[in-house]
């Protein structure tokens, strides 16, 4: 299979607050055999099954998902216990409990650790073996059974069975590996057992894969020379506790308790985007945080005719809101990916977005699962802060306030996947005792009003020496006046249009030092990025769908703020956004909002029903 190509441009350092932090390790000390540089991709303590997002398959026996008093050593709460009463019989066709999580696909190296305990009376399953844990590459394929027990006499021997190898090992398609580092190792019934395993994938075309495993911290097995997969994968995609049920009718009560699942993989530089084919339902409950999954649904008779039926991000479905209808999307899809930005992919046929999206081309060949990584960070929007304040004694504080508002705006953009961040490249103090103060006052549009100073948008500002083209220019002034002819004191202003509704520059922002709220800068930058108000003095514009803390509300003095998915989409692709004006976004774009500043009022905003397939509704919320 072809190796994917994708845009990989070194990105700037991410902000310190990440929207999808990787899970933390449960207890660092337990993972002594974890290689350096691995980061958690799954941790489940089973203190809360739903929070851990494990999917319960078809249970047999009595599954008690959370058992407060029976945790693994050192763990206070939660485990999964499966109980098979004496004389237990399957209620239907032979099935077994499955606790599964999708890891995101494409994983070639993985470390896993978990705890389990079987009851003192435990008897092996029908084949004399008990499967405990498997890793799979795709549904229907043979599994890498990386933890199972074979009953030998009275003993339970820990073992591995490798299904689905790309090339048979030593002539065996599905070899079974017994402990070779410590022959004679057994699983002790009635005691907690700690299982660790490190899988190092083979290089393409080489039988150099390796498995190393430990029981209770002691080396147990070590097997090299494995060729797990071919050059195009498929690689590890999901993990399952795929328990083998005991022999039906066994006249003794049996139970197995599982706890503290942990998987880690080598750190990557970006988020994961995964394409899945023919995938069964339930994907939304299994997608790990931080992974965007594009799903081609399985209809029962074959793959859906649509390339992408769903987008799953962070465990929730994002309907393909560019869908043309009939569950078949147009030749585009919007992807919120590593950089937290929405990008529009051109889809099959080399659409116009193909060069923009990190997922470019991945659905040109839907014959197998794919994984791409996007190392880009949020787009840096270069900003210049102009501190315009008469009192020298306060200018340092004003600068600190301004920088703090930049950071608060960045936190909001990052938390809400806006895909941008403000990067302060310069701070200019233009209003002090220097000879330039008079010129600065005139150029920036400020006038003295009875001992105070008020400033407003001035069409000549971009041509002055007090403006940096192609950057966001935020002027922190004593007060901001809108429309000098009929002045109103306002907290902030974006000068994308001047007072006669002539296009000026969305890069010009005025901030009132005396009256702005902590979120006012984010609001004004939001205008520069193409966003319009969602509420104002006339009320909320969208039938109550706008959260109380939405950053584009103009009816509340907001202390903290958020963005909706529909707004994050616009930030990245809106035609009028300063990203395009500043040459930062040259790919597909959309005109989702009303065209003129004056027209963007509650009475004139574009109805959601009129957006067609071009834009998601502005009120589309994050799932």
């Amino acid at each position: 299979m072809a190796t994917l190509g994708f845009h990989r441009t070194p990105g700037p350092a991410l902000p310190s607050l990440n929207v999808t932090p990787r899970p933390a390790r449960l207890a660092e000390v337990w993972y002594s055999n974890e290689p350096a540089g691995y980061v958690p991709i799954l941790t489940s303590g089973f203190g809360n099954k739903s929070a851990d997002r494990w999917m319960l398959g078809t249970p047999e026996g009595t599954v008690q998902a959370v058992v407060p008093t029976l945790g693994a050593p050192g763990v206070p709460v939660g485990s999964v216990r499966v109980v098979y009463p004496a004389g237990w019989k399957p209620v239907a066709a032979a099935t077994s409990p499955k606790y599964r999580q999708i890891l995101g696909g494409g994983i070639r190296n993985v470390y896993l650790s978990f705890w389990f305990r079987v009851s003192p009376s435990w008897k092996a399953g029908p084949q004399g073996v008990d499967n405990i844990l498997t890793l799979r590459t795709k549904p229907g394929t043979p599994e890498l059974r990386l933890a199972f027990m074979r009953e030998q006499g009275a003993e339970l021997v820990p073992s591995l069975r490798l299904g689905g190898l790309h090339r048979p090992y030593d002539g065996v398609a599905a070899p079974e590996l017994a402990p070779n580092s410590a022959p004679g190792t057994t699983v002790r019934r009635g005691r907690w057992q700690h299982w660790e395993l490190l899988l190092r994938g083979n290089h393409p075309g080489h039988a150099d894969g390796k498995l190393t495993w430990w029981l209770n911290g002691l080396p147990t097995g070590d097997q090299a020379g494995l060729e797990f997969w071919g050059p195009g994968g498929p690689w590890i995609r999901d993990v399952a506790w795929d328990l083998t049920a005991p022999v039906a009718g066994t006249p003794i009560l049996q139970r197995i308790v599982l706890d503290e699942m942990y998987l880690s993989a080598p750190a990557t530089s970006g988020d994961r985007i995964v394409v899945m084919n023919d995938f069964e339902s339930g994907v939304q409950s299994q997608a790990p945080a931080g992974t965007t999954i594009l799903v081609d649904a399985f209809t029962g008779t074959g793959a859906s005719p649509c390339a992408n039926d769903l987008v799953v991000a962070g465990g929730a479905i994002l309907p393909n809101f560019l869908d043309a209808g009939a569950n078949c999307p147009p030749d585009e899809i919007a992807v919120f990916s590593t950089d937290n930005a929405a990008t529009i992919d051109g889809g099959a046929g080399g659409g116009q977005g193909a060069a923009q999206s990190p997922a470019q081309g991945i659905w040109h060949d839907m014959s197998g699962e794919r994984r791409v990584e996007d190392s880009r960070g949020p787009r840096p929007v270069e900003a210049v802060l102009w501190i315009v304040k008469e009192e020298d004694s306060r200018k340092r504080k004003v600068e600190l306030v301004a920088r703090g508002e930049v950071e608060q705006a960045n936190a909001m953009f990052n938390e809400n996947r806006a895909g941008i961040r403000l990067e302060v490249v310069d701070v200019e103090h233009v209003w002090d005792s220097s000879p330039t103060s008079v010129a600065a006052r005139a150029a920036i549009g400020c006038q003295s009003v009875n001992g105070s100073t008020a400033c407003t948008c001035l069409p000549t500002l971009p041509a002055s020496g007090f403006f940096r083209a192609g950057k966001l220019n935020a002027y922190y002034v004593p007060q901001v006046f809108d429309e000098p002819a009929s002045p109103r004191i306002v907290g902030g202003l974006n000068c994308r249009y001047d007072h006669s509704n002539t296009l000026l520059d969305p890069n010009i922002v005025y901030m009132s030092v005396a009256m702005s709220s902590p979120t006012a800068l984010a609001h004004e930058v939001g205008h520069g990025l193409g966003l319009e108000h969602t509420a104002d003095g006339s009320g909320e514009w969208y039938q109550g769908k706008v959260p109380a803390d939405n950053v584009m509300r103009d009816d509340k003095w907001l202390v903290s703020a958020s963005l909706l998915l529909g707004q994050a989409f616009r930030v990245n692709v809106e035609t009028r956004s300063l990203l395009r004006r500043n040459g930062m976004q040259s790919g597909p774009h959309r005109s989702c909002e009303c065209e003129l500043w004056a027209a963007c009022t509650r009475a004139n905003f574009i109805l959601e029903s009129e957006l067609g397939q071009q834009c998601p509704p502005v009120t589309r919320a994050w799932p």
Partner: protein, 167 residues
């Protein structure tokens, strides 16, 4: 009075407010609050208040004298406290002391209310409005609010020196 001093006094007053009183003024009117709280105020918020006429002057006078109602001020204060804690990981925010950061925005919130009350009073006009403005000028105000009040008085009376309240 310096803004910092005013903030210290405000903090003391706020403790009393939070512990005793959270009731809005008698002539509460949503249109007034929207004018007070808007950022850009492009939806004719001021015009809506002016349309209320003299009946809203007492409320505006109280806002000009006292700032936001205690309940609103308390909510903003608590929100600022929690927001600072949430953002204090960021160096740009942490560079300012928590109390200073909160006081800055609390003062902005108060000045916004007082300044906009002054604007509305100036536009409504009349003896009561002028009296409220004059009275406020004798109080301890930030330079920004004082400038706004003076601007309102001057601009109204500059355009209409014949008005009784301007003589």
């Amino acid at each position: 009075m310096l803004r910092a001093n005013r903030c210290a006094a405000l903090r003391s007053a706020l403790v009393l407010f939070l512990s005793s009183c959270d009731s809005p003024p008698a002539q509460d009117d949503e249109r007034v609050w929207r004018w007070m709280e808007c950022l850009e105020c492009r939806a004719f918020e001021l015009d809506s208040v002016i349309a209320l006429g003299n009946g809203v002057v007492p409320l505006l006078g109280r806002i000009l004298a006292d700032g936001p109602p205690p309940g609103r001020l308390g909510r903003i204060h608590r929100a600022l406290d929690s927001t600072y804690q949430r953002l204090s990981y960021a160096p740009g925010v942490a560079a300012i002391d928590s109390a200073e950061w909160v006081d800055h925005y609390l003062a902005n919130y108060i000045d916004t209310y007082k300044g906009r009350a002054a604007w509305a009073l100036g536009q409504i006009g009349g003896g009561a409005a002028r009296q409220a403005l004059d009275s406020a000028l004798t109080d301890s105000l930030s330079q920004d609010v004082r400038g706004q009040i003076q601007y309102v008085v001057d601009s109204v009376c500059g355009a209409r020196p014949d008005l009784a309240e301007c003589r």
